[in-house]
Symmetry: C2
Subunit: 360 residues, 2 copies
């Protein structure tokens, strides 16, 4: 007889995108930034003396919190650093969603969310996006009607790349009685022309938490560093009660702080990625593949008429040739693949291989 | 009205030992190794190119698991790497202890355990050690009678330093119907003459998990790296269902692997610490302070007749002079302080200051 809790015995874990170790692979499947982190991260790493490592890290990553507070024009009490953004999502469920309550998100969304709900043994509800990947008009009241305790919304949305405006977000925050979690993992890739900024909303809405990660925009997926932004009352129990006592390590704290301090370098990579995104979308369109309009560093592509090959087969054939993209076995995404925007060289390699696969 | 779950609203977080940033402090309060990590850790750090950090880490820390498997003569499926040993403890509760069930430990024990129970909203039971800090004779049946689902036992025990033999551990594993978790955070400091080794027990007991950490023995508290050892069936749900998808980062994986591979260096520090432990105990005894016999890198000291000053005041006066030790506000530990064994210089400084405080 298994010793596992019944809900854990029943559940399946998160299926993450493949992480091949081979350098021969063109990796366009897990939305990493194709460029290395800022040179100041390398400098910070080179300056670390391992003789500091015998001591525990600063328990609350103070230097990072101060840097982030300055960057976002907030107070340190509005910020909680976490071991990757995923830790923040888990902490939010642990702290705010009782097993008798309901966690909700959109359909489609990040496939980790139902895993977190299953682990906590709480209810899980999916609210379908509209046919044009938009939020339902009456989202706030829909959530209240479903007695939702916390709603996770990715913005820009994954896997569609759709950006919901800060006005839309604020309306949901106002109407929704529960906790609104905006997962801004991809917000760094939004075109500055949009002047998109949800951070000021946390001052006006005591039910709003924003997630940020250093994994995508700052090229630090390997480091595991994210953070949450919210009013101090929402941050306090995460920081003082439910997180592991030393959740981020000394080296990660130093490198993440260096990355934030040299944000200008990363902004340069975001601009390059936006330009590549446009070129890649055009190249795909020329092959007869349409992409949804994306403000993230990936494109959701529809593999449909006049393309003869189906999405899953295309994904598999690309993989066989060492180009990894993402295919989701989900009802709404059966004829789609998600492609991370790589460097121009990587994108060209993909397009040229796709051409041969689609029109052999 | 707070959005927190009722159990989270009620609970208090973990009170960790102070982590002063000042270099003037003699830090003998949180059981760190006074020596830096192995030179091979420094070499490994120097060889890291930050351009690898834009990619996600190996999800299961394979290189580390292989090294640990080799070291312990186990299979990789017997090993789960975690973000510090504390993450493993939390994962065990999340995976194996339902809110309707009971987590138990000894009294006294590591004060994080009740926090983990409160977070999971499960019952928490404390089994008092005997007056000589031993395990109760009938521990297994006592746990079964209390319907305990998981029992956390630190060995060598904290804060007493007491070592329970592998025969005692095996007897509890045999008699207890629930999950036995042996927290071996301090096992590296056990005198080799004891020939103490519980690892082979995991082959014979499907209800036994052993926790190891790189924080103490390997001088890597700042890195956050621990691991669990158990039969594959106990490890699998922790590794595949409940842990955060990328729970350890690329740099930590590389450095922790380097530390295990150069274990001989750390063994040298363990020997020095054992020798210092003996000298420190003798020095304290000369001041009229008795210490319980310890196989860990700390001493639990009784501040009692003929000492005029009480334990809490002694702790506070030492702190005022920049020497940090640990005082626990707990019934069984009212007249005690716990002192981490430091370098010989640090121990001498402590003894000389204590002499002036005790006999002014």
């Amino acid at each position: 007889m298994s010793l596992q809790r019944p809900n854990i015995l029943r559940m399946r874990g998160y299926s993450f995108g493949e992480q091949p170790s081979s350098k021969l692979v063109t990796k366009l499947n897990t939305n990493e930034n194709p460029y290395p982190p800022s040179p100041q991260v390398a400098e910070a790493l080179a300056s670390i003396d391992t003789s500091i490592l015998n001591r525990y890290p600063n328990p609350v990553a103070n230097a990072f919190r101060e840097t982030a507070a300055c960057l976002h024009d907030l107070h340190v009490d509005n910020i909680i650093p976490t071991n990757g953004g995923d830790e923040l999502l888990r902490l939010i469920v642990t702290t705010y969603v009782d097993p008798t309550e309901t966690l909700a998100t959109t359909a489609p969304a990040y496939s980790l969310y139902p895993v977190l709900a299953a682990t906590q043994n709480c209810n899980f509800v999916e609210i379908p996006l509209t046919t044009s990947w938009n939020l339902p008009e009456n989202l706030g009241s829909l959530l209240n009607k479903n007695k939702v305790k916390a709603f996770f919304l990715i913005n820009p949305h994954a896997p569609t790349g759709q950006l919901f405006s800060s006005e839309q977000i604020e309306r949901v925050a106002s109407e929704f009685d529960g906790l609104l979690v905006i997962d801004e993992a991809y917000v760094d890739f939004v075109d500055p022309i949009q002047q998109h900024n949800c951070v000021p909303l946390i001052d006006r809405h005591e039910n709003l938490i924003i997630l940020r990660t250093m994994s995508k925009g700052y090229s630090l997926a390997g480091l595991r560093f994210g953070y949450g932004l919210a009013c101090a009352d929402l941050i306090a129990p995460l920081a003082n009660k439910t997180r592991d006592s030393y959740n981020t390590d000394s080296i990660a704290q130093i490198l993440a702080t260096a990355a934030l301090k040299s944000k200008a370098y990363s902004e340069g990579t975001w601009q390059k990625i936006r330009q590549s995104r446009q070129r890649l979308a055009l190249g795909l369109q020329n092959l007869g593949i349409s992409c949804s309009s994306s403000e993230a560093n990936f494109l959701l592509c529809t593999v449909d008429h006049p393309i003869q090959i189906n999405a899953q087969t295309l994904y598999e054939k690309l993989k066989k040739e060492n180009i990894f993209v993402r295919y989701f076995e989900e009802p709404l995404l059966q004829n789609k693949i998600r492609i991370t925007v790589g460097s121009d060289d990587e994108n060209k390699r993909l397009l040229s291989l796709m051409r041969t696969l689609i029109d052999p």
